[in-house]
Symmetry: C2
Subunit: 236 residues, 2 copies
Amino acid sequence: MATTPIFEKTTFREVMAEILQRITEGPWGPGTLLPGEVELAEEFRCSRTTMNRALREVSELGFLDRKRKAGTRVRMAPIRQARFEMPIVRAEVEKTGASYRYALVSREILAAPEWLRARMNLSVGSEVVHLVCLHSANGEAFQLEDRWINGAALPQALQQDFAAIGPNEWLVATVPFSEVEISFLASAADAITVTHLDHKLGEPVFCVERATWWQNAAITLVTLSHRRGYRMTTRY
Amino acid sequence: MATTPIFEKTTFREVMAEILQRITEGPWGPGTLLPGEVELAEEFRCSRTTMNRALREVSELGFLDRKRKAGTRVRMAPIRQARFEMPIVRAEVEKTGASYRYALVSREILAAPEWLRARMNLSVGSEVVHLVCLHSANGEAFQLEDRWINGAALPQALQQDFAAIGPNEWLVATVPFSEVEISFLASAADAITVTHLDHKLGEPVFCVERATWWQNAAITLVTLSHRRGYRMTTRY
């Protein structure tokens, strides 16, 4: 009967702890090029699968820079990755046990203003849909949505009245997936925020700005302004 | 000579597009329990590896909820995941081509105030290090760091003067990895922010609050306040 090789008992957590120790306490200081996976697996007496998983986890913690050809290098400064799950607002409200309500504040179709043409890369005279929507939790304003949709890229949007279904849910069902740019920022409450979100003029508002592309065409640009005290939190 | 089976030519992108179409246009509406991976691979005439990758990608787009035992289900509402890379501030400043400077504004060791004991789960009389640090880009204030470190969990912190090396870099090297809770929020500038960040009192400030645990003990709680106009952006 063959004896069980040692590596079968080495877990990826043990390997990971050893790698982290070498990185933080030496000898693998910042900039070190690590040996290959096979070589490391042999040294650590673990399977290649285990070594691969351990390296991936250490990498996800931000300590390693892995490039297919150049190999794996210890980062000069670790990068932490924060992941935020961004559910659609209805799900976010309902998760707290509150009842959700959607209301369309205004809808207009117009030629894109100059700042928007620059931001979404639209040509002069492009028709856009401009929507302002209010999302409420238990009857109180939760989020104000200020959205622009490119009518050239998404002509169906020009026909939609968005009276019953919010543009976010409509877009998710219409444009299956896309490239996204998201920014988080602190804004000063402007007139429209004051009107709908119960803020005082100039008061801090937590905003999410999201621009979406699909096959190189700008689809939509939205600013989501949140009620007082809102924070976006993640744990990992 | 054997003929090449059809599935060799089916890419995961094609499979992914078909899955997305079934989800958004039917018949796989919200809540649908999908067939198993093997069955799907047969139906789509692709390899199991291809199907696995396609399902994982669709899942990462937020459309599927995959559970080991319960199987794969179409989410009632898609969840978008936003990933933010959070480098240490020195790397963030230097990436813009600016020169980085660290300065310790204040350092004190004291018994944890009540709000902090509650937040970090500390016992009465626990010693904490309280630091205020300023990170500058080209000589201008970039980020103000207001940090608390639990002296019971990390007694070495009580000995550090943090005069030359910022606590973030010191912690990264001392506590290899940990659980983290991160919040993004919009605050109103307070006295200390006004003093160091050139804000007016009450002006919106984009803040990152981060609490860190290591082996169930609270290590540190930090609030990072950013200069005017700062936004945290990610693309994917």
